[in-house]
Structures are given as structure tokens and as C-alpha cells.
Amino acid sequence: MNQNKRLTLETKDSFADRLKTLLFDNKVMIVFALLCYGAFVVSGSQIETVLSEVFTRIARNGFTVLALLIPVFAGMGLNFGIVIGAIAAQIAVFATVYWRFTGFGGMMLAVALATPMAILFGYLVGKLFNKMKGAEMIAGLILGYFADGLYQLLFLVLIGGVIPATDPRFIIDGGMGVKNAIDLTGSLKYTLDRVQIIDLALGLFIIIAVITAGKLILHLRKKRSFEHKDWIIFAVVAVIYGLTYLPAIEKHLFADRVNLIVALPLFLAFVALRNLYHLYRNRKTAMPGFSRTRSIFMIVLAGVVFGLTYVPRLEALIMSVNLPVLPFILIAGLCAFNNGLLNTRLGQNMRTVGQSQTVAAASGIDVDRTRVIAMVLSTVLACWGQLIYLQNIGTFSTYGAHLQIGQFAVAALLVGGASVSKATNKQALIGVTLFHLLFIIAPQAGRELFGDAMVGEYFRVFVSYGVIALSLAMHAWQRKIRKEDPEFPDEVPSKPATALAHKVKEAD
């Protein structure tokens, strides 16, 4: 063995090989992108309408799709059980509107009601999944149907039948059961979408102030040292909040929407800075998964895209899209949360459990507990995702709003190139974009091609389920290839202890 040369396992493949791998890894995404493009050309839709519709839908559903990531980290596959989180949200929303709470306060009440329910449901689902390890996905799917049954029992029979409820706005004329549709107009509709930037600034300031105060109290009670960093954070936030009082700035902040022409450069700046930071951190030794070329490429790409926004045609197009501020901040926040979680002990434990439960257990990690926490988090996030969805739609079908979200969210994630065992924020966002793009375009394309919008409708349903089936099959296939790969070590002989255990069993 060569002592001088350190072992580096970077693959020195040729460019063509790397391109091939890149295309192969993203095959689902590429196929879907081509499909979207084709459908778009055929449909002859206005690009402006399509674009603004896509962004509306990302705001509506992005959060729910991102809620799927944590169970994937923990090796529990795609969580079809998020339906149960959605059910918690719907129960809470019904209670809120029934009691005539409205506006942002009403929404917060719905959150306060839904979250404990989601925690409980998530805990129970997690417990169940621990009893059927390896079959979480099918269990989640069936559990969704089961939960739907209970939900129907609650809404059709118990409410009005057992629980006294008479309000004719919601209750079916006979006095038992909830009406088919619940209108949120004037109560919860747009309560999150319409939050103004200035309120968000205030919110941020209050949160940071409370945290700083907490730190200060701990410091005074000598539980924790108060560092300069803490002051700096508080000062920066305070200054930002102070700036909002300047009339010149203030007048822009009463908006609840931001034009894409503002948001896009912010996003690009974020991408560029992030890659610069990676370059800086990896300047001496390259961590695994870091590629200098890729980082530089991303920075250049961000620059090019920014340049493109000055092309008049594109500029007009981009200017036509307005983004609701809070939903996108929440989506960004969830992305940050997912990433942050991976950098905690809990997140690392989840990854370990996801990779090998045997190793995790042998290293003293409580496998079952970690899995339950992952399910609780996912269910709560899915529940919040459903709240965001409902307030944006503004009316919900009591018995149908939650039904498909499991499948749709999973399909969207898979379209983004994720698999049962690996998923990232990026894949979730790309997936949700492409999936909805097809959803918007397909009916029109169907009408153009076959003279019937329903054909497009059938097509998109077929595609969404097809994507799930295809991805699952391809995942199984890839795993099989990997098993047959000679590079992977042989299965080692079974230990005498196991042989003995068999013997004991047989003798028994």
C-alpha cells in the first residue's frame, strides 16, 4: 500500500460518462420537462398566464411536497400518510369557520387547533410504521384510506348527530352531517397570502426580540453565556425594522405581493452567495459531494439569468408575475428547516437510521423514537401545508380536499428526480413546478389535439400515477443493479451465533 498517496475516491470519469450519468440520474425530470414543453407547444397557451398560474400553485402546494422530505431522510420512504396531516388541518379549519373566527387571528387559531392533532396523529402513525418496518409506503397509503373513513364518520354522522352543531351554513338540512363544500371567503381565504411585508418585518422583529430576551434571561441566571453574536443579530434586525419607518421604504411595504422582477434577483443573489460560500469553505480540502466546477457554473448561471431579465420580452414576462410574500417565505423557511435539521444530532440520527437500522441500533441510537419523530414532523408540516392550500383555494370540498394530496405530493416529488431513498429541497421544488406545469397545460393540449379537454385531464391523471409507478419500479431496478455490482462486497458468511439460533429454533 502506498503510504504517501492518500486515497481519494473521486471518480475520474470522462466528460461523456459524467454527462451520461447526469442524464440517467435525472431521467424522470428530463422526460417530464420534455412532456411539458411538448404539451405547451401543442396547447398554444399564453406563456404569461401559464407562468403566473404555476407560481400560484407552487405557493399553494410547495409546502406540502417539502413535508415529504423528512421521512425520506429517515429511510421511511414516501410518506403517503400526509393525508392524515391534511385531515387534521381540515378539522381545525372547519372548527374555526364554524365558530366564526376570521382573518389572520382565525388562521392562527386553526394552526393552534390543528398542530396538536397532527402531532398526535403523526405519533400514532409513527408507532404503527415501527410495527411494519419495510412496508411504510403501502401502510401509509392504506392508512390514508382508513383515516378518510373515520373522517367521513366524523363529518357525516358525528357532527350534528352526536356533537351538537346546528349552523345551517355548514350543516346539512336534516341536522346531521356537514355540507359538501365549505366556503372560506370572508373567513380564512387569503389570510396568509395577504399578509403585508411590513407586518412580516414586525413579526421578524418581535421573534428576534423575544429570543434575545430569552438569551439575556438565561445569561443573567448564569445558564448560558451571552455572546457578541447575539447582540449583533438583534441589532441588525432592529435596524432593518427601523428602516421600515422611513417613508420612502415604507410605502413599498404595504404590498402583500412581490413582483417576480424583484424576487428573482434576490433568489439569484442567494444562489450566487451560497456557492461563493461553498467555494470559500472548500478552498483547501474538498468535502465529498463538493464540485468546484459546479459551484462556479452555478454562479455564472445566476449571472446569466440575471442578465436575461434585461431582455425586454423576458422582462415583460417576468413583470407579469406577482408572488404572494408569506407563502414563499414559508416555503423558503421549510427548505432552511430541512437543511438545518440535517445538521443537528436528530437529523444525523435520522440519516443513520435511514441508511441502516442495524448500525444505528448498534451505535446506541433509539431507532424507533427517531422514526416516530420523523413522522410527527412530517405530519405536522403536511398539516400546515394543507392550511396554506385551503386558505389559497378559498373553498374546500369537505369530503375531497385531502383525498389526493398524498399521491399528488408524492408524484410531484418523484417528478423532480427524487427517489424512495433520496430527496432534496431542490428536487421537491423542481418537481412541484413541472408537475403543476403539466397540470395546467394538459387540458388545453387535450382540447387542441382531440377537441376534448377531458382527454388532457385523463392524460394528466394517467401521467401522475404513471410517474409514481415508474419511479418505484426504477428504484427497485437500480437497487437490484447495485446488489449485483461486483464492487459491492459479498455477503459475509453468517455468524455461528445465527447458525446456532437456527439450530435452537429447529430443536425447539
Binding site: 486515497l7 481519494t8 438565561l218 443537528t344 444530532r345 444525523q348 443513520t352 462486497p489 453468517s494 437456527h502
Partner: protein, 533 residues
């Protein structure tokens, strides 16, 4: 109480369901000593280690007797984490590594260094769950651990996937070294999966670790490695303590003898006159450069000629490849090389080829491969003959009368204890299941019968009957019989010749009355010549 020993396990006795697997076994190790723990499969090495690590399998089956002392203090280890706290670590034979993690992540798994969360009070509510991971500190630690075993050329941030097996083993070792206060390391057959140079490197590292005062228990069946690296050794046999020796006082031959050493109990009454005509020119089965890709029982290269009419045995330790031999011929796993039956080459790519050439099998995995557990005894016995030879059929349907007659005769012949031919096989005892397997193989009227682990999990009476019956059909029908067994005693009592398989190759073909030392050496892949050299 002052003691020179770091660890001493005294008079350990352990029963599994009334089956004594350890009887008054003792094990003593001094600090900085490399101590080899030796014995055949089933000698009790693994059980002893399970006791040491407080594995759940021990507690769930009623604990053990005897006491464990660490540095003179009696300790009770309740679980593997407890063992870790006492500074006892293990380098596993099957690697406990996560391929997609980096070396650092693997070394620190479950013991990550964290800094409390940036948000106040979070650690109150969530414990250490939300600690922020300090990867830089962890990399430094990993680097230190890797350097300390001389592994300067493993990058601490490289992924484990794709590393050579040997390197993975070293990462495992680094993980154990990184645990603070490690006093005792158990190496469980560490060299089994390594190449020769990697194994040499490993032994070097073991010496390095021992030189720092860490005691090592080295479980292995490779005698030469023991002689090379160990200071002392303990030999177990059938769950009993046989000897503790210093390596300088002993030699390979003695160790081999002690490991095997048991008088050959005659399991079979062989008073019948041997009228067989065995001839070196008449070969029933010949294997040429034969390889089988069976996971866990890989056959690497076997050349052997089995003569017509003889009983030929394949012995050796578990995982060395003897089980692969018949599974390959049966067509269950990929093979290479030639299998020649009575001068005719077998085309193993065709399923059922061996059966059509009148070779019958009794599988070692009778519940998995051998039997249809939910089916009746009758169906199990006639199944293969029906499939392969179209026997017991009237047109396309089963000839019930003929099949019933045959099965009843078989039940009588082999003394299968059952309520009748209709009883399901799953409800029979192990011994009777084995007889059903045998009955099915015999129904094929084979020319060559391959029997794997004929007596596994069956009681002594049934054992004798099965072995005697094998001998009987060999004598009376002239059937060539190949026995594959982990139990040397049974091979030695019925076979004419025994091939010992080690690391997928035949290390020696021995006569049943060859010395224990010869068998012991063959099992660890050595021969007399190696010893004297």
C-alpha cells in the same frame, strides 16, 4: 483484589432452551495481550462473546451463570451500550459501516460531537437532539484515530462506498479506537474477508494497538495467524473449556489436535461386510475447476473425483464453501467449470439438469429449499419424481393408489413418525422432516445422492438411523453418496474419504482415521508440510 488480568470471565455456563452451549468456560486476558479464542463452529466462541457484550439474545433466554470481572471488579453488562461504557469494543466480521457516509460520519456514528442549539431553551425541551453538529472537531478526532493505527492514507472525508474491503475494516477499527477509554477490543474473524496483504497489515495494526495496553481478543480459525500475532490462546470445544496456553509453549499441531480432539464415536454399526467394488477408474462425479457463486458459501476452485459406489464427505467450517458445492450442481447458483457425471458433462444452465441425470439432493436448508411445509408427507415424497420423471401419474393426474402405496412403504422403511401420509410436513419434528427429505430423494432412485447436513437439528436416535440408512443404500444399491456436513464425527463414521474445504478450495482429502491434528490443520487451510516448513 489485585489481579494481573484485565478481563476474566469465570465459569460461564449458558443454556439455550435446556441445550447447554457453554459449560464452565473461563477466559482471562491481561492488558496489552493478544489472546486468540479458538474452536470449531458451535464450540461456543460466539455465545461467549454475546455474554461479554450483554447481547439481548442472552438476556431473553434466561441469562447466564458465572461472573465477569473487569480489572478485578465484578461487572454486569446489560446491553452492548453497557459494554461500550466499560471500554469493551468489537470489530465486527460483517462491517457495521454505512457505505453512503463519510469515514468521519462512520467513525462518529451515534457519538457525534454537538454544540447546543443557537435557540435558547431548546436543549431543555428537546434534549441534545437539536445540537448543531461540529463536523470539524469530528474530522480532527477521526484523523487522529486513523493516524494512530497507521492509516495515513485513508481520507477522513472520503465516502466508505467503493473502498477496498481492507480499508473498511480499518475504518471499523478506527471507530473503536476513537471511543474514549477503550480497554478491550474483540476482533471477530477479521481476516476472513481480507486479501493476504490486507490481513498482514491488520495483524500489524493489532500489535500496534496491543502495544498501547489495549487487550485484544482475536477470534479466528487461521492457525498461522494465531502463531504469528497472539500471545496466548484459549481453546473451546463443544461449549467446554479445553485449554489456555501461551503461544510460545505450544505449536500448530497441538492446537489443531486440541480443537478437534475427540475420540471418533462410532455413530454407525459397520459390522456388515463390505462387498463394494470401488475402482479409481470408474468415476461417478468429477468436478474440474469448479466454482460456485453462492453468497456466504463461495466455492472458489475445486477439483475432485468421486468414485462410483463410495461415500465421499465434504467437511470444513461454516462459510468456507462446502455448502456451495451441491447447491451449484443442483443449479441454484451460478457456476463455472465442469461437472462431469459418469463421463458426461452436465449443462448447469438448464434447470433440473442434475435431477434428470439421476442425481438426487437432500438440502441443508430443509425448511426453505427442501420441503413444501404446508403440503402433506405424501406430496412431498412424490413431488420430485412426479416433476422430473413423470412417475405417479395417470395421464395428467396423480395416480393416488400407486403414490399411496409407495409413500406408505417409505414411511415404514424410514420409520417416519406421523399420523399418516396426509399429515402436513410442517407439523413433523426435525428428524422426521429430514427423513421425508431423504424419502423424496430416494424416490428418484438416484445414482448419486448428495446429502447436506443430514443430521442437523435431529436427535441422536434419528441421527443414527439416518446415517445407517445412508450406509445401507450405499452397500445394497451401490448408490454413490456425497455427504456435506459440518459435523466431522459423522463424516468420519460413514465416509470412505473426506475432503476438507477451506476458503472455497479443498485443503486436504483425508481418510476417516487420519489424525485429529491433520483435520484441525486442514480446516484452517494448512497442511503438514506448511507446519514443518
Amino acid at each position: 483484589m489485585e489481579t494481573p488480568y484485565l478481563l476474566s470471565m469465570d465459569n460461564i455456563t449458558k443454556e439455550y432452551f435446556g441445550n447447554r452451549v457453554l459449560k464452565n468456560v473461563s477466559l482471562k486476558i491481561k492488558p496489552g495481550e493478544i489472546h486468540a479464542l479458538m474452536g470449531e463452529n458451535g464450540a461456543g466462541k460466539s455465545t461467549l462473546m454475546n455474554v461479554l457484550f450483554g447481547m439481548p439474545v442472552i438476556h431473553q433466554t434466561g441469562g447466564f451463570e458465572g461472573q465477569v470481572q473487569l480489572e478485578g471488579k465484578v461487572i454486569r453488562i446489560q446491553d452492548p451500550q453497557g459494554a461500550m461504557k466499560y471500554g469493551i469494543g468489537m470489530v465486527h466480521q460483517e462491517f457495521m459501516l454505512i457505505p453512503d457516509f463519510t469515514v468521519t460520519e462512520n467513525i462518529k456514528v451515534g457519538r457525534e460531537i454537538g454544540r447546543s442549539s443557537i435557540l435558547p431553551l431548546m436543549d431543555r425541551v428537546f434534549g441534545r437532539d437539536l445540537d448543531h453538529m461540529e463536523w470539524e472537531k469530528m474530522s480532527t478526532d477521526s484523523r487522529k484515530a486513523l493516524d494512530s493505527i497507521g492509516m495515513m492514507n485513508i481520507e477522513e472525508y472520503a465516502k466508505v462506498a467503493g473502498m477496498p474491503i481492507g480499508f473498511q475494516q480499518f475504518v471499523e477499527i478506527a471507530r473503536e479506537i476513537d471511543k474514549t477509554g477503550i480497554k478491550l477490543l474483540v476482533f471477530d474473524e477479521p481476516t476472513a474477508v481480507l486479501t493476504e496483504s490486507e490481513a498482514d497489515r491488520l495483524l500489524e495494526i493489532m500489535r500496534l494497538i496491543a502495544s498501547r495496553g489495549i487487550a485484544i481478543i482475536f477470534i479466528t480459525h487461521r492457525l498461522d495467524e494465531v502463531m504469528e500475532v497472539a500471545d496466548s490462546l484459549t481453546i473451546l470445544r463443544d461449549g467446554e473449556f479445553i485449554a489456555r496456553k501461551d503461544v510460545v509453549e505450544t505449536d500448530l499441531v497441538e492446537i489443531a489436535q486440541l480443537m478437534i480432539g475427540r475420540s471418533v464415536e462410532k455413530l454407525v454399526d459397520d459390522s456388515a461386510e463390505d462387498t463394494r467394488r470401488i475402482d479409481d477408474d470408474r468415476i461417478a462425479l468429477e468436478l474440474i475447476n469448479y466454482r460456485v457463486d453462492m453468497p456466504g458459501e463461495k466455492v472458489r476452485q475445486i477439483n475432485v473425483k468421486i468414485r462410483e459406489g463410495e461415500i465421499f464427505g465434504f467437511g470444513g467450517l461454516a462459510g468456507q464453501g462446502k455448502i456451495g458445492i451441491h447447491n451449484g450442481i443442483q443449479g441454484l447458483f451460478e457456476t463455472e467449470g465442469s461437472v462431469i457425471v459418469h463421463g458426461e458433462k452436465l449443462d448447469l444452465s438448464k434447470r433440473g439438469e442434475a435431477l434428470r441425470k439421476d442425481i438426487a439432493f437432500v438440502s441443508e436448508d430443509r425448511r426453505g429449499v427442501g420441503l413444501l411445509l404446508g403440503e402433506s408427507i405424501e406430496r412431498n415424497i412424490i413431488f420430485s419424481a412426479m416433476q422430473v420423471k413423470n412417475e405417479f401419474l395417470k395421464g395428467r393426474f396423480i395416480d393416488r393408489k400407486k403414490s399411496r402405496q409407495h409413500v406408505e412403504a417409505m414411511i415404514k422403511l424410514l420409520d417416519i413418525r406421523c399420523t399418516g401420509p396426509e399429515q402436513t410436513v410442517g407439523s413433523l419434528s426435525g428428524g422426521n422432516q429430514q427423513k421425508v427429505c431423504l424419502a423424496r430423494a430416494l424416490t428418484l432412485k438416484p445414482n448419486i445422492l448428495m446429502v447436506a447436513e443430514p443430521t442437523r437439528g435431529i436427535d441422536i436416535g434419528a441421527k443414527k438411523l439416518v446415517l445407517e440408512y445412508l450406509r445401507k443404500i450405499n452397500l445394497e444399491e451401490g448408490t454413490t453418496i456425497v455427504v456435506i456436513s459440518s459435523e466431522l464425527a459423522e463424516l468420519r463414521s460413514i465416509c470412505d474419504r473426506i475432503a476438507i474445504v477451506s476458503e472455497g478450495k479443498i485443503s486436504a482429502v483425508l481418510a476417516p482415521d487420519a489424525s485429529d491434528a491433520d483435520y484441525g490443520l486442514a480446516m484452517s487451510g494448512l497442511s503438514r508440510e506448511d507446519v514443518s516448513a
